[in-house]
Structure formats: C-alpha cells, structure tokens
C-alpha cells in the first residue's frame, strides 16, 4: 500500500480577511506551494478536494472548479467537500484515499470560508445551519445552545464545572497569542474569561470561537514521488472517520461524541499508536466544552475526567502530557468553518517540522493529530501525522 506524506502546507491569516473567495484561496495555495522545499508548480497537482460549508450562500455550485481555476490548477479533477465544520477534514481524508488507492500521486486538500462579508440583515445565515434543522433549530437551538446542553449535562454527570471551561479558554488564548495566523491574538485572564457575557447559559463569550474568514491548503504526495519535492516530509500515517446521529436527542449520550471515538480509534489503530504517543493535538474546540469532551473521546483523559484534565493544565504547551491546540485552536486561531480541518493540518505540519514561531514550538514533537468535527458531532475526521513513516 502506498504511504502518503505532507510536502507543503499554507494558510491565510484567519479573521476579517480583506479578500474575497478567489483571493483568499489563492493566498493559501500560494503559501502551500511556496512551502514545498524543492521546485513546485500548480501543474504538479493531479487532483483537488476543497472543503467549504456555504459561503454565506454565494458560489455554492462548482466552488472547487472556480478556486482551482484561480490558483493555476485548472483542468484537474476537483470537487467541493461538505461536512459542516469538518468539511476540509474530510477533504483531507479524500485526498489521502486518492493517493492510497493509487489514483493520484500529488493531491491538494484545502478548505475555505468567507463568513464576515454578510450584511447585518443576512448575518444570522450561519446560525444553526448544520444542526437538525427541523427539530433542533425549531426548538431555538443554534450551536452555542446545543453545546450548552452538553456542558450542563457534563457538569451534572461528572462534576465538571464552568471553571474547567475557563481553564481551556485561557490556555487556548495563551497558545494563540504568538500565532501570527490567529484571529484573536489576545491573552485572557481567568477572571475575565470567568465573567464573560452569557451567550447560551452556561457558555459565555469566552467559551465560544469567533466567526472567521480564512483558507488553508495542504499538499500530499505518494511515497514514490516524495523525494522529488522534499527531504523533510511529514507522514500522514492514518485517517479515521466516524459519524453519529445529527440531533443530540437521538444519541444515547450527550456527554460523549461517538463519531470522535470511532474516528480516533480507527486512526490510532491504523497508525499503530495510542493516545499516550501523541505529542500535540489540534482539537476541534468550537466551544470550550467541545475540547473538554474531546480530551476524553480522544483518550487523553478517562471518560468524565476532562474537567480534571483541564484543571491540572495537562494540555498546556511544553508542560502537560500532550499539547492541546498549540495553534490556539478554534477559540483563538479562529474557525472559518470549511477551512478549519486543513488549517489544523497546517499547524501540525509546521510543528513537526519545527517551523512555527519559536515561542510556540513544541519540544521534540514526533506525533501530532488533527481532530475535526462537523456540527455537534455528526461527523468527525481524525488524522495522525508523524515525523516517521510508521
């Protein structure tokens, strides 16, 4: 079976981006092309998979063809991949499978979302579009509400509390402070995060990720062509994925995300690792409770002990068992929905190659994972990256 390597990765800065879709994607692709160590041109790419959710309603059809056309890759097979906030996590999985299957040697996987260009009248477009529209949204639930229900239940079942979530928020803002690509580069004190504006009780503003524009791209290559492009590849050792009921009320438990458990179990098994082997994890913290639960579902903490994990600072860079969200995560780096999954891969690629800002570098990192969730856990993709091939 073919092994797959990441040979390049790039992204825009997340936040209120001045460019439109074409400009943002071109910037991310340009960064990715430039990050390849040896000569690389867009025409080296055999196929493209680009994740996005909705673009605020614009250019829903043939998005990927438009974007590749504006990044020098016209003519190759392309498609848009949509799985809510896990769109580009699944684009990455599709790209990995295209190479594993032998259909392509060099593939680009990316994601993009333009969220902040909507007028005030259209700004509610994004609220609740990826939940169970008929049953959750019409009960007034958007994702802050959905995750608030999970948080309150986790507090009830496991004795976690809002201060545990505050610890996660403070950590991720601290991690993101030095990240030049982050949307919110601001450290936040415990007291400030504790007393934020209530968005969906018990979640405050400091428990919620921002609404970001952004694009990201990673370039994958088959083992037999890798050396044409780099002597320092990062190996994409495995891809795992899972799904679950869309609506919370259909799931046996709302304090666990089965899709994450499935995806991580499959990815760890295929990579021949356990959670203990992971040095850094880019985790889908759209809300702080999502990170707390993910630390359990990914195996970094026992079920019900995610609060304790946060309290004991076990996810802090170069301090805890594993660095959780070295980029600042969705909370600080930002969350341009469709771009988030491959944006996580950009961070892991750079961390494993030792090329992030010095203050952010994780010491001796060998294995990193990305964890990208769609909706409140209906879909999930987990990828394992390593300095070593296996």
């Amino acid at each position: 079976m073919v092994d797959v390597a990441v040979i390049g990765a790039g992204q825009t800065k997340y936040g209120n981006h001045p460019s439109g879709l074409k400009g943002m994607w071109a910037e991310a692709a340009e960064q990715a092309f430039a990050s390849v160590d040896m000569d690389f041109e867009p025409r080296c790419v055999d196929e493209a998979f680009i994740g996005s959710v909705a673009f605020g309603g614009g250019q829903l059809g043939n998005t990927a063809a438009l974007l590749t056309e504006h990044s020098g890759m016209e003519g190759i097979p392309v498609r848009r991949v949509e799985n809510a906030c896990a769109s580009s996590g699944f684009a990455l999985r599709d790209a990995w499978m295209a190479i594993k299957s032998g259909q392509a040697d060099v593939v680009i996987a990316g994601g993009i979302e333009k969220m902040n260009d909507l007028s005030p009248e259209r700004r509610r477009f994004w609220l609740g579009v990826s939940g169970d529209t008929e049953w959750e949204r019409l009960a007034g639930l958007t994702f802050p509400g959905t995750y608030a229900l999970m948080a309150r239940r986790h507090f009830h079942e496991h004795g976690s509390n809002h201060d545990d979530l505050v610890n996660i928020s403070v950590k991720n803002h601290m991690h993101g402070f030095e990240n030049e690509m982050a949307h919110i580069r601001k450290e936040v004190s415990f007291e400030k995060a504790q007393s934020g504006f209530m968005v969906a009780d018990p979640l405050t503003l400091y428990d919620c990720c921002p609404t970001s524009d952004g694009a990201s791209a990673v370039i994958l290559a088959a083992d037999h062509v890798v050396r044409q492009f780099t002597d320092d590849p990062v190996w994409l050792r495995s891809s795992g994925a899972g799904s679950d009921y869309l609506a919370l009320h259909d799931r046996p438990s709302i304090t666990q995300v089965k899709a994450t458990q499935q995806a991580s179990a499959a990815a760890y098994k295929a990579a021949g690792i356990t959670a203990k082997d992971v040095d850094l994890a880019e985790v889908h913290d759209c809300f702080t409770i999502a990170e707390l639960m993910a630390t359990e579902d990914l195996g970094f903490a026992q079920h019900g002990e995610g609060g304790l994990f946060a309290r004991e600072q076990r996810g802090v860079r170069n301090q805890g068992d594993v660095c959780i969200n070295p980029s600042g995560g969705l909370k600080s780096k930002g969350h341009p929905l469709g771009a988030t999954g491959t944006g996580q891969a950009v961070e892991v690629f750079k961390q494993l190659r030792g090329s992030v800002e010095k203050a952010r570098q994780i010491r001796d990192a060998e294995i990193g994972i990305t964890h990208n969730v769609g909706g409140s856990g209906a879909t999930c993709a987990v990828h394992v990256f390593g300095r070593d091939r296996a």
Binding site: G57, L127, E134, W135, A139, R152, I254
Partner: protein, 280 residues
C-alpha cells in the same frame, strides 16, 4: 359555573354542556392572548381537556379563526367551517371577541360564562412589541436565513410535532420519526402517542443575539429563548422551547409537560409546535 381550572396555561370553566377556555392575561381591561397563544392553541388545549374528561369529539364547527391543520394534527379533530353545513357536527366552537373560546353542543343555551376576576395584566409595552414582532413575522416576505423548513416539510412532520406520535421499531419507540431501520426495512408510520410528560436532562437559555432568524424578532422582546432537553417516560428524547408565558427556571430532573403554542411564522404561515411548561 361549576369549576375553574388551570389547564395548559389557560383558564377553563365547565358547565353541563359547554367548556369555556380563556387566556389568563388582560390588556387595557380586556382579556388578551399571551405572547405565543392564539385561538388555535386555545382550541387545541380545550379539545385535549374535553378528551381528558372522557368526551369523544371527532369534529367541531368553527369560524375560520382556527388553524384547521394544526388542530387536526394535534388532536385528530376535524374543524368544519360554516360553509360545510351539510356535514353533521355535534360540537360547536365559538370564538369570543376577546381571548376566549367556548365549546358547546347546545347552541340554545345561555353562554354567558364569567371567568375569574384576578387575571394577570400584561405590560403594555411588552405586548405592543410582541404584537409588532408577530406582525412582521407574518408578512409573506418574511423568510428564514440559512437553513429553512419549508411548508411541506413542516406539514410532513406535523403529526409527530403536534401530536407527539412515535413509531414502533422492534421493542423501541422512535421519535421524532425516522425512515429505514438498520435492516433496511421501512419503520411503520407513527401511531403511538407519547405521554406528554418528560424529565429535564439539560437546559439552556440562548441570548437574543444568538437566536436563529426564525426567533430573531421576538427573542429581544423575550430577553432570550429558553430550551429544555428532555426524556419522555417511554424512552425517546427531544428538545423543546419553554412556553413564553411559563415563569420557569428549569433544573435537571424537573418534570415538564407539553402544550401547543406558536413556534414562529414565516411566509405568512404560523408554525405550531409543542412547548414545555413546568408540571405542577
């Protein structure tokens, strides 16, 4: 008047051959609807009260102030209009000038019911803002942003939404409805009514700024929207808004019951559904 009871957030008064149901609120001296009630929601509450007293009704005659589709989905009762005079109806639904309804099977009798005097006065500013919000929602040009539940999708799910009808799938009850099971077999049509009581497993209150566009006009007036995540006694779980007029701060473990209220309006159509109220 033999008795006055609090029923699904309304006041109900029985007589030998009639039931009067009215809103518990007043505005400027008149009986007025609460913020998510109307003649349709009161008619459904009235029919459910009659059912609970063992009175079997299959059809009523009424003026067209009642949403016949919602009443049918929630109760199974056909509402006939005056134009359908050929169809026999034992019961009549009379709509009052204020927020009152009378069900009777004796139009010859004196229907001068007198409700209790100690009704709750609505804040005029709140009532005005809420009425204005509903009026804007009811404009045919008012549409949702992003996700959208079409009229046909709403009607398709109405029996489950308004009647809490669940499906049998093996030994389990399924609600809301689902299509195929794990064997690829179609799950039978919903025909088992869930008990309209459930236990709160979680809850949240969403700030007005975060409300989906369906609720964006009214959420600021209400100061946010409150949702409970519940488990029914028979197993299925669901999420429900708390009724606007319910003075209720939920806690995990609470028992709630369900009443039909307005959910939102769009493209000129009011969509009704169940909302939670605390169980006394």
């Amino acid at each position: 008047m033999k008795e006055v009871i609090d029923w699904q957030g309304y006041l109900a008064m029985f007589d030998e051959d009639a039931l009067m149901i009215q809103s518990p609120f007043t505005l400027d001296g008149s009986i007025a609807f609460g913020s998510d009630s109307d003649y349709t929601t009161m008619a459904i509450a009235g029919l459910q009260l009659l059912f609970s007293r063992g009175i079997d009704i299959t059809s009523v005659r009424s003026l067209p102030l009642v949403n016949t589709h919602a009443v049918k989905a929630a109760t199974g009762v056909e509402v006939m209009s005056d134009e359908e005079n050929d169809t026999p109806c034992e019961w009549n639904l009379l709509v009052g000038e204020e927020a009152t309804l009378v069900f009777t099977n004796n139009l010859e009798r004196d229907l001068a019911f007198h409700g209790p005097a100690d009704l709750e006065a609505l804040d005029p500013t709140f009532a005005e803002d809420m009425a204005a919000a509903w009026n804007r929602e009811l404009e045919s040009t008012h549409v949702s942003q992003g996700a959208y539940v079409s009229e046909s999708a709403y009607r398709e799910g109405a029996n489950a939404r308004l009647g809490l009808l669940a499906q049998h799938s093996g030994d389990a009850l399924v609600w809301p409805p689902r299509q195929l099971d794990k064997h690829g077999e179609r799950i039978p049509t919903a025909n088992q009514a869930l008990m309209a009581r459930a236990k709160v497993e979680s809850w949240t209150k969403l700030s007005a700024a975060g409300a989906p566009s369906e609720f964006a006009l009214r959420a600021p007036v209400l100061g946010g929207i409150q949702t409970v995540f519940v488990q029914f006694e028979q197993g299925p779980r669901g999420v429900f808004l708390v009724a606007d007029d319910a003075e209720y701060d939920p806690s995990i473990g609470d028992q709630v019951s369900f009443v039909v209220r307005r959910i939102y309006a769009q493209e000129g159509l009011i969509r009704y559904g169940m909302k939670a109220i605390p169980t006394n």
